[in-house]
Subunit: 167 residues, 2 copies
C-alpha cells in the first residue's frame, strides 16, 4: 500500500496543497451464477469490517494480469467454480477523493463446480466457506446486513440490474 | 486521514504483524427520487478518479451527526433538494481488508427542489452541476462508464433493487 500527498491544481485555478492519496492494488470481483440461478458466495473473516461476513469471490490483480483473468483465477482458487460466459459490470474507483483502488466487477454465468477450492494464496486471512443461494436471497443478505463490504454489495446489486431474469 | 499498522491475531491463532489500515471519515450517500421517478444526480470533478464523473449527493459525517442527517444535509446543500421518505439501503465497509471508511446509503423518495444549492463546504473540489434523470437512464450511465465511483454505482444499483417500480 502506498500513501502520499500531492499539490493539486483544479480546473478553476485553485490550488490545494497536501492533498492526500492512498493507493492499493486494483482488484476483480465476480458474481458467478449457476445454470439453476444460484450465486456462488463465500463466508469468511474480513479484517476491514472486523467480522465474519458474506462476500463474493475477489482478489487483487497480479502483475500483467487482466481484470477478467484475475476474476476467473480467483473464482477457481477460492470456490472451485468455473464459468462459461463473462460480462463486465463496470470498473469503479473505490474512493472518489482519495483514489485508494479500482474494483473491476464481472458477471459470469453457466458457472459449475470444477474442482475443490485451494491455492487462494496469502491474501486471505481466514478459511473461506463456499455456498450458493438464489440471487434474490443473496440480495436479502445485503438487506439484513450480512454483506459487510461495499465491493460485494455493489457487484451483487449490479448483477441483479444486469440480469433481466433476476428483476 | 489516519494510516497505521497493527498486529492481528486470527481466530485460528496465526499472527500477522504489520497489518496496514487506513481510516477516513464515514460518509452518507443518497439516491433521491422525485415524484415523477427521476433521480437527483451531480456531475463534478473527482480527484480520486482524476476526471469529471456523475455521482450521487454524498458527504462525510460530521462529529455527532447521524448518517441519515448527513444524507439529508448533503442532499440539501449540494442539490437544493429535500425528500419526505427515507429508507436505509445499508452500511458497508469500503475496503474489506484495509477498512478505509463506511458508506451509509439511503433511498429518499418524494424529493422536491426546495432551494438553490449552496453551502456545500470545503469537501468539494469543484463546482457541482445538478441534474435529474429517470432511474433506468442513470443505470445506463453506469453501463457506459460515466459513474466513476463505487459508492455511487453501488447506491444506484441498490436503489433499483429496493424499488419494485424500477425493476
Amino acid at each position: 500500500m502506498e500513501v502520499g500527498e500531492e499539490r493539486v491544481e483544479l480546473p478553476d485555478g485553485r490550488i490545494i496543497d497536501e492533498f492526500l492519496w492512498v493507493r492499493t492494488r486494483e482488484f476483480a470481483i465476480v458474481v458467478a451464477i449457476t445454470p439453476d440461478g444460484q450465486v456462488v458466495l463465500e463466508r469468511s473473516y474480513k479484517h476491514g469490517a472486523r467480522r465474519v461476513a458474506v462476500s463474493l469471490p475477489a482478489g487483487y490483480l497480479e502483475e500483467g494480469e487482466s481484470p477478467r483473468d484475475t476474476a476467473r483465477r480467483e473464482l477457481l482458487e477460492e470456490t472451485g467454480y468455473e464459468a462459461e460466459e463473462w460480462k463486465s459490470l463496470g470498473s469503479f474507483t473505490v474512493d472518489g477523493n482519495y483514489g485508494v483502488s479500482v474494483e473491476h466487477a464481472f458477471l459470469a454465468t453457466h458457472a459449475r463446480r470444477a474442482r475443490d477450492p485451494g491455492g487462494a494464496g496469502h491474501d486471505d486471512l481466514e478459511e473461506i466457506e463456499v455456498f450458493t443461494l438464489p440471487l434474490s436471497e443473496a440480495i436479502g443478505l445485503i438487506e439484513r446486513g450480512e454483506v459487510a463490504q461495499l465491493s460485494s454489495a455493489a457487484a451483487l446489486a449490479l448483477a441483479v440490474v444486469a440480469l433481466p431474469s433476476a428483476r
